[in-house]
Symmetry: C2
């Protein structure tokens, strides 16, 4: 599964920037793929790229209409359906990461088949997968792990890809969730595969590669999240990482979605991830820590990262506030 | 999902006893549910219960035809299809744990719907599941964990159910795989659910119960199996066990399906399972060890179990060779 760029980003009737965060992510990390945005009259956010009609975008070369907006429940809005049919008729592929499949919009799959275009529901894997083997494979891999869900794993790994490429390294982000897949143009929603195939899906996603090539595998969940730890462990084994980056949001009051349940300490989170990762890569090590310090003032954030870095003898960064330079420096032996 | 007993066990053209191991398991653990067996002329095995035609079994009260035989690849034999249609026409439900669904036999689902009977493909969960929460719940639970796949978890927990009931305890086996489901008459194939729902499926399977009630949750895989550990971890968190039983087959040369990959030590397997299980039950403990010593001579087996028991200060049994009495005694404070 690979999406065809360039994209027209569909923002629909997004009530605010947060509702269009997928579109924002795609535009931030893959600006060259984003020809324009398509907004309905009620749309309250703006990516700052050209507004285009479907016809204008198609004429400019857009290949895929990407649904970059999510509304409550991940449904496909009534107001969107006519647009989707028009897009198919104009020869667009459509890509979406919603719970509800665009392929389930009555009549749309048939229209797409008749036109010869593809509907990509990236949250719903369609590939036939094998179980993982854990067998050693060439190439190098880095995996983002976390104390919790939604602590910045995707952002960290996209920042790593950018910085590593700028440093002359061969690096590819490997997406394991729907937003990451829409940004990367390919990937597998690991939390949506049948559970027997979690590690196998990850092996497929980041297969053997050149010895000097880095796959940067987006993590999911946390070994300490009572809802999703199975996904995290299968991903950890399947990724066979040489390095882990431990992602964390300081001051989070409880595990996401589980009030009253405390986050693990950085030390125990690091130790358990290393212990489990050794099953498929005995040489795994922690490259560093990536914090989301957006809730902290600048001085407080820097102080915390400095103290944490000293505690572990590892770089501790905030990909937004400081960038990931110190992590990349460790890979290039400058660190 | 609950199967309707009693059963007629379909052995088909099973070439040997191993091919009919599902039927053997059902007959061993639920003899009262097994009215008879249905064998095709080429069948080379015998459960020692009455051979019945479909008509005879139906007249005797059989409600479900259970496919108790597996052939290569888990396919539905050509020779079986006519029987399945006849069974549906006579008002049987059909239950199977094969890779190929009986519901996918052309025309069979329509015939079943027309007749008002149910096709149970127990390897393919159809329930709408929620994600797990890890929230504490009443009742007590025991989970079988293992150094590897196929080390006797299901057998151990069925033996525990029998022995605990004989000791006057309230105990129910909770099946997490297809054979266990056919034996128990209900359950969820946890390795076949979408990976986000592993722990949620297990919470559904063994929900809050009376304070003096025991759910005996069949385990799957191993935290040390590179293919399936994610399933095992989600199951461990979802089961929220008060006690673990560590299952193991001594002298196994390598992890099942993974030549060259050694089994973990009992000590590290016990430690990691306890550490991870504490996330949802801080008071979890190991009840004892259950070995499959079928490859050892009697003296050697007993010596090994005695030494292992002393090493860990816990009972070490073989459910077949010694029974699980010492494990049950620990629960009833006789141990």
């Amino acid at each position: 599964m690979a999406l065809r760029a360039p994209y027209l980003l569909f923002l629909g009737d997004a009530p605010d920037k947060l509702a269009a965060k997928t579109a924002n992510g795609i535009h931030q990390w893959r600006p060259d793929w984003c020809l324009g945005q398509f907004r309905l009259p009620d749309c309250k956010t703006d990516l700052g790229i050209p507004d285009m009609t479907l016809e204008e975008a198609r004429a400019a070369g857009a290949e895929t209409l990407v649904i970059g907006v999510a509304n409550r429940g991940g449904r496909i809005g009534e107001a969107w359906r006519e647009i989707l049919f028009q897009a198919v008729a104009l020869g667009f592929d459509i890509a979406a990461g919603l719970h509800q499949k665009v392929a389930d919009v009555p009549g749309l799959a048939a229209a797409a088949a008749a036109k010869g275009v593809t509907l990509h529901d990236v949250r719903h894997p369609t590939e036939s997968l094998d179980v993982g083997t854990g067998g050693p494979r060439s190439g190098k891999r880095i995996l983002a792990v976390g104390t919790d869900c939604s602590v910045g794993k995707m952002y960290t790994m996209l920042a790593m890809e950018k910085a590593m490429r700028e440093a002359g390294l061969k690096a590819d982000f490997r997406a394991t969730g729907q937003t990451g897949i829409l940004i990367a143009g390919s990937g597998i929603s690991v939390d949506a595969v049948v559970s027997d195939f979690i590690s196998g899906a990850t092996e497929r996603l980041a297969p053997a590669h050149d010895a000097d090539h880095w796959d940067l595998v987006e993590g999911q969940g946390s070994l300490f999240h009572a809802s999703f730890a199975g996904v995290s462990l299968g991903l950890l084994h399947g990724a066979q990482p040489d390095h882990l980056i431990l992602c964390h949001e300081p001051n989070r009051p409880h595990m996401r979605g589980l009030p009253g349940r405390a986050l693990p300490s950085l030390k125990e989170c690091m130790a358990l991830n290393l212990q489990c990762a050794r099953l498929t890569n005995p040489d795994v090590q922690v490259l560093g820590l990536a914090f989301n310090t957006s809730a902290l003032a600048d001085a407080e954030a820097h102080d915390l990262m400095e103290r944490t870095g000293e505690t572990f003898g590892l770089p501790c960064v905030d990909p937004v506030r400081t960038g990931v330079g110190p992590l990349v420096d460790r890979l290039t032996a400058k660190g």
